[in-house]
Symmetry: C2
Subunit: 884 residues, 2 copies
């Protein structure tokens, strides 16, 4: 063990910011400031090693006492005060300070050095008897509680009694005398409770306080906090003994906090507030309203100038925005603390970009300064944070963004009102494919049932519309066109506002902020693009999504789902006809009717993405999703029968019911879907593939350069892919021959089942590309049905830390990630030209994006508005790798 | 290339059985027999290399013609006949013969050497003009068709015309003259069709025939056959040219086939049949009834004696049962073919055991001679194969075995009749938990709906009862107490018989055979136990199953499922009460009522398995399985409402419906089940664990040595197991303290989700044992819901060879197996004392059992009646490894 104690005072500190592990965050920064020539109240830090020593052995190093005395002497020399001197007493604070902040977990004692004699010296010094006795009262109370263990409420009881007897309500109203009396009562209480006297000897006070702070490292609260936050026991805490300074010594004193730049906007201006003639606690207590720092410039111009210069020095020194605390005691400025300032996404972007322009930090540093996760704030329409809102209820944040509109209860009504230029919010118990035209025209969707993958949620996310799902507090009565919540009734035409990012349902209209891709933001993202080597694509199902994706910087479409196209109002009847078909010929006939529409869909998307690859996934969900709900039909038929309805009508319904029954499954997630449909009903895929290639041919003829890539979903082995690849290639050749034109195309597969990842070597031989579908891969690897888990055990699991994270949000690197790694490695080994990406929702989650980079994926693909997040995260991953 | 041609005749063959690849199966065995001094019609084999040469180059090696002539000369020397000699003509056959038999795929030409002149010699030689001209007629016909390519039906037309003109019905009724005429007509037909003459030159005939047989290796039929059976193109076929011998030369001639032991029973006796004065074709055609070989002993005692000795020589030489063909031409015996004889399971067991006793083969060889898969025949009650049955319909073979009984349509009625000592078959559309008491008393279960994992199937398999499920041809009318099938009506009280192994539903009573564990069978299994090093346990849920398992040789219980206990008539109300409970206290109260019953369940099983480990899996299925069906309730409520029923009744039903709705899931397979229930509702597992340990404590007090092992299902990470392990250990300690007794126990987990296998290293640190649940692991690794896949795409996939095997029957070694291997390796690496087994249905499937041995599992566990199969397969795996 080296030295135990590190002294600090302006221009003469033994420690520095580098010694954070030894001195704790507070101690290290105090030393650093002192060495920068900044005035800090002089003091010393007892290192964390002493804590460890004490924890291990139960006693302190023998030299410690001597060293404390030596350092106290140094303080006395600088301050001209003397510890325990009845005329000019030095007062000190004793505070904990670990490597990282553990707010409120450990103990603090202020005003040490006061006793019956020195308090009189303080009265003289300050000419403020009330202040002196109140300080003394606080010392005895804190010491009695923290150091001696007398329950805090016993002191409070005595204060309350005193206030009652004096007929006052606030502590501050108590006169000097009462405070004096309280000191005595407190000392009696200590004696009575703990059979010891409050120590009048200041050195005894100091020794006991230091001891108590070290011991507080092992109090229950701190142990629990460390467990939860995974802070190692052996780190220990440091103890800071520091001269007390007082901002409440008159109108030439004050105390305040501030930032070197505006933490909300990033603007380069001193930002903060202060209170004249006050102490830190008063600012926190909020009894008086603090003034903005600009006001200090008027009131104490010199002090302001000094503060400005000092904090500028700090920002330059630390090369980041500083969040500082200061006290002015009789016009003399002391800095009490400095640390990196927290900031909003907007500020983070602006500050990072500005600091590069100012030459303060490098572009790499700037990129690391912005939290990718935070960026989402900037990428959706959002409720103005300044607005006052009345929250009616909270549902699941199913699709981010915010929307205001009048409520409607049916899709048809939504269309009707939207045609009349009304902004509508569609409110349903739950949505079904038949509501799709209503969803398309609505500003936002609210459902009282269903989870994060309910129909409403999936479709809304797909369309980039805000959605609050499964909001059970809202009782929807679709027939009466109203909903009730907490006894309030809302009817068609009433305004509500949804916040899809938080799940809030809000009464009335609320002011909104539009998403911003400000100049600074663009600039930062361009720097990210210069650095990153992993591609970023978008998941987009419509030309509109594709356009947004391109604006957001996507380098192609990583996943274009085709099933949502099937839900269109004009297509659903043909889709249902295709499903009800009883022969291959009939199926083909219905499919043919869909082909021209699908072709237009693909033309639109391919055109938006001209020059970039577009991966189109063939139909994935089980067919029953396109038919009416089984239970609804069942109830309807039961009613018709009892009511003696026409037998033909019943028969038709029963036929439909039979088909739904044939198709529905125990576990549709693991059922007859994906390429299993393609293999058993080849007509559907044939139609889709033909539509894709016809679209490509037509665009090529028009002179556009398009790159369609056909993706086969849900393969378990190479045979499936080989069968379908043969079929796809055949159609491509037919189209090229018929249209007499050549276009490039590729055929690949989704890797979304564990077996596909495990057998990637063989599958890769049939594929031009792999795209890891980590949503489904997570479902099967965990055996979690997302629909079920999110409403049932998953929240419980996360709350109880059975799982650290929701694996549907953050890629499970240990399990699912291992499969992705295996699949990638084996796939590339057996097919060197294989391109490998990921298109699950994890493709837009920063820690997952970084993982994807580290294991060597070629690109990630995510929803359009997460593209900027992925671009930044990919750049950070590269920088972090370079720094290793 | 070595020699092209291998001569063979008694005591002088150039080839041998070892040259199978070169000579084909037939040629190699002919050479081997010749070298053993057995009389075979002399001949020679043209090697497969010539075929390859010809296929590659399109012509034959130049020396071939010369060699053929040389070898023909050798035949002439031995037979004293001459090829093409008008007085004493030698006739030969030309046949294909590949490495492995490709029955009927390639061509054969008989009677080569006949022409207008030599036929007269044959007449003289045999004194049988009809025989000679019929032989000639056959040659021209076969040659014309096979060698020259004239369609076979054109010859048949001419024969038909001839028969008509002669007024006869059978070929054999045609007189010599007509046959002579037919030869001429055939020759004209060839001339007319192919513009060539039928070659009168015997050498030309031979050359062309050899050419045709080689060419037939590449006919369409043969190519397809090879594709399907994965026979490589380059193997080629050999060609055998062999002296014709005739069993139809009078009453001192005959032809026959036989086995050296009875292939049905294994009895050591010459077994087979023959026809006097006949040719091989006649035996096949079945015009006359053949005689048993015993009869030959009377008719031709010397020939019989020779045949007996020769075939005994063959059996000793080949050290296995031989399936042979022979011809006697004028009292002279010729062996035409020999090969290993196919046999029934019963025979295989007896023969293997007897041959060891006879010193013919080693025990290891004996163990390899029995096909484990075949043994299943012996392990269930089965329909007497001799019985004539009328099959009404076929459903899914859901649970093996056979049963006869009178039909009933409700569980209550089943119990009523069973109480009156009636044997009943329970027939339902589908079963539900409420039928469990009916299933328990029934001989077998028949359902018209549901798959291999429907309630009926699972429960029946669990109880070891025969079940035919999803038999859609049967229309069940439960109300009218009848079912109809193919227009027939069956009513309560009518007899039917079920074959759960084939899925057949049979009319009336049928004679049955009981399962046999004969002395020989036991002996073989004991030998297997001596050899094998991998353990074999059983999956058993009841004391009765446990008893059977022990009889079958199980070394413990690898999986005791506890959910079936919950379905008991006396428990279900409490289970439902537990599920409907709205607070933890209420849940605990209901659980407490189940505890004594569960304790008795466990006592029974532990007692049966005294001295052996019993792995008890805690509750696994989702809770809604114990409640009524959602749709039934829905329909019921709809009816009640329309009919204006009592509002309280409706309310109660709606409350139940609500609970069912809360609990039911989109994908129950991936839902709130297994340890997820244990963690969210700890009361259920607590009750079960307490019941297990109380049972162990009571038995230990009674002096029994029991080894309960608690298995936690469906874990995805170590945290789940650690939470539950803590809970389980706590209960164990409480019980031991309360009962003041010590017993051993262990805590482990099922590995049945990909993530568990991928993270086995961490999970192993919380586990005493792993048991791979390969049923669920297959479902999640493939993303196949067994319930859905088996009724939908899986049969199609297997038929079209998209999958080679049903992965629920045969472990998918490439995908699922890789996970098992990883989990095993990582688990054992991080916990050396970890015991690892498998308890999916694959544990009783021979190729899967062998895989389990090869990768190093400690044991397999399977249903009780498959234990002998697993014991044998495990021994075979060990022997196969030793042989490497």
């Amino acid at each position: 063990m080296g030295r135990y104690i590190y002294f600090f005072a302006k221009n003469e500190a033994k420690g520095s910011a580098k010694l954070r592990n030894l001195l704790g965050g507070k101690g290290a920064n105090l030393a650093e400031m002192a060495n920068l020539g900044i005035r800090v109240p002089p003091g010393f830090t007892i290192s964390t090693e002493v804590c460890t020593y004490y924890t291990e052995k139960g006693y302190y190093p023998s030299e410690l006492d001597e060293e404390i005395k030596k350092n106290l002497k140094k303080i006395e020399l600088i301050t001209g005060k003397k510890f325990g001197d009845p005329d000019n007493p030095l007062l000190v604070s004793v505070r904990s300070g670990a490597r990282i902040s553990m707010p409120g977990m450990m103990d603090t004692v202020l005003n040490l050095g006061l006793n019956d004699k020195t308090v009189k010296g303080l009265v003289k010094q300050t000419d403020n008897s009330r202040f002196a006795y109140d300080s003394y009262r606080r010392l005895v109370q804190m010491f009695g509680n923290v150091v001696l263990g007398v329950p805090g409420e016993k002191f409070e009881e005595l204060i309350d009694k005193m206030k009652e007897s004096k007929g006052v309500k606030q502590d501050v109203e108590l006169p000097d005398e009462s405070l004096k009396e309280l000191v005595e009562e407190f000392e009696d209480l200590i004696k009575q409770e703990k059979k010891v006297d409050f120590p009048q000897n200041p050195f005894k006070q100091l020794e006991m306080a230091i001891n108590a702070v070290f011991a507080s490292w092992n109090n229950k609260r701190a142990i629990n906090y460390r467990k939860i936050n995974k802070i190692p026991e052996h780190w220990g805490t440091a103890v800071n003994v520091q001269t007390m300074v007082f901002g409440n010594m008159g109108n030439d004193s004050c105390t305040g906090v501030g930032f070197t730049r505006n933490p909300a906007t990033g603007e380069k201006t001193l930002y903060g507030e202060y209170l004249i003639n006050a102490q830190g606690e008063d600012v926190v207590a909020g009894i008086r309203t603090p003034q903005p720092l600009a006001k200090l410039k008027e009131e104490m111009p010199q002090v302001y100038q000094e503060l400005y210069e000092v904090t500028q020095t700090l920002e330059k020194h630390y090369r980041d925005v500083q969040d500082f605390e200061f006290t002015v005691e009789k016009k003399r400025l002391y800095l009490l603390q400095t640390r990196t300032g927290k900031r909003t996404a907007q500020a983070a972007v602006k500050i990072a970009r500005d600091m590069v322009k100012e030459g303060l930090i490098s572009k790499d540093e700037a990129l690391l300064r912005v939290e990718p996760d935070q960026l989402e704030q900037l990428l959706h329409r959002r409720i103005d944070p300044k607005a006052k809102v009345e929250v009616l209820a909270r549902g699941l944040p199913a699709s981010p963004g915010a929307a205001t509109g009048i409520i409607v209860f049916t899709a048809d009504r939504a269309v009707e009102l939207a045609d009349n230029k009304k902004k509508v919010i569609l409110v349903r118990k739950e949505t079904s494919p038949e509501d799709i035209h209503g969803i398309a025209v609505a500003q936002g969707i609210l459902t009282s049932r269903g989870g994060m993958t309910s129909h409403a949620a999936v479709v809304a996310r797909g369309m980039g519309k805000c959605c609050v799902a499964g909001c059970e507090a809202i009782k929807v009565d679709e027939k009466e066109k109203r909903f009730t919540v907490n006894g309030m009734v809302f009817q068609e035409g009433d305004y509500i506002t949804l916040d899809g990012s938080s799940g809030k349902v809000i009464k009335g209209k609320v002011p909104m902020l539009d998403p911003e891709l400000s100049g600074e933001f663009r600039e930062i993202l361009e720097w990210a693009d210069e650095v990153r080597t992993m591609g970023v694509r978008a998941n987009a199902d419509t030309p509109r999504d594709a356009r947004v994706a391109r604006e957001m910087g996507a380098e192609g479409i990583g996943l274009c789902r085709t099933e949502h196209m099937f839900f269109g109002e004009d297509r659903l009847p043909f889709v249902q006809e295709m499903i009800m078909a009883e022969s291959s010929e009939d199926r083909e006939k219905s499919a043919k009717k869909l082909e021209p529409m699908q072709k237009e869909d693909f033309k639109g998307i391919l055109k938006e993405m001209e020059g970039l690859p577009v991966i189109i996934r063939l139909l994935d969900p089980p067919l029953h999703e396109f038919l009416p709900n089984y239970e609804d039909l069942l109830v309807e038929i039961t009613k018709l029968k009892i009511q003696g309805a026409d037998s033909k009508e019943i028969e038709a319904k029963e036929k439909l019911l039979q088909r739904v029954a044939d198709l529905r499954e125990m576990n549709p997630m693991l059922g007859h879907r994906g390429c299993r449909l393609g293999i058993t009903f080849p007509e559907v895929y044939s139609m889709q593939v033909r539509a894709i290639f016809e679209a490509a041919a037509e665009l090529t003829k028009e002179g556009a350069k398009v790159f369609p890539e056909v993706m086969v979903p849900l393969v378990v082995n190479e045979k499936e892919l080989s069968i379908l690849r043969t079929q796809i290639v055949k159609v491509a050749e037919e189209v090229m021959e018929k249209e007499n034109i050549h276009f490039e195309y590729r055929v690949g597969t989704m890797i979304e089942l564990p077996r596909a990842a495990l057998c990637a070597d063989k599958i890769a031989q049939e594929a031009d590309f792999f795209s890891f579908g980590t949503n489904d891969l997570t479902q099967t690897t965990f055996g979690f049905s997302r629909d079920d888990a999110e409403g049932k055990f998953l929240p419980f699991y996360i709350e109880k830390k059975v799982l650290e994270e929701d694996p549907f949000q953050v890629l499970d690197q240990e399990g699912v990630g291992k499969l992705v790694q295996m699949g990638l490695k084996e796939g590339k080994k057996s097919n060197q030209s294989l391109e490998v990406g990921i298109c699950g929702e994890h493709g837009g989650e920063p820690s997952s994006v970084k993982f994807c980079y580290r294991i060597g994926l070629d690109y990630v693909s995510c929803s359009p508005y997460r593209v900027p997040i992925a671009r930044l995260a990919a750049a950070q991953a590269k920088i972090e790798e370079n720094q290793k």
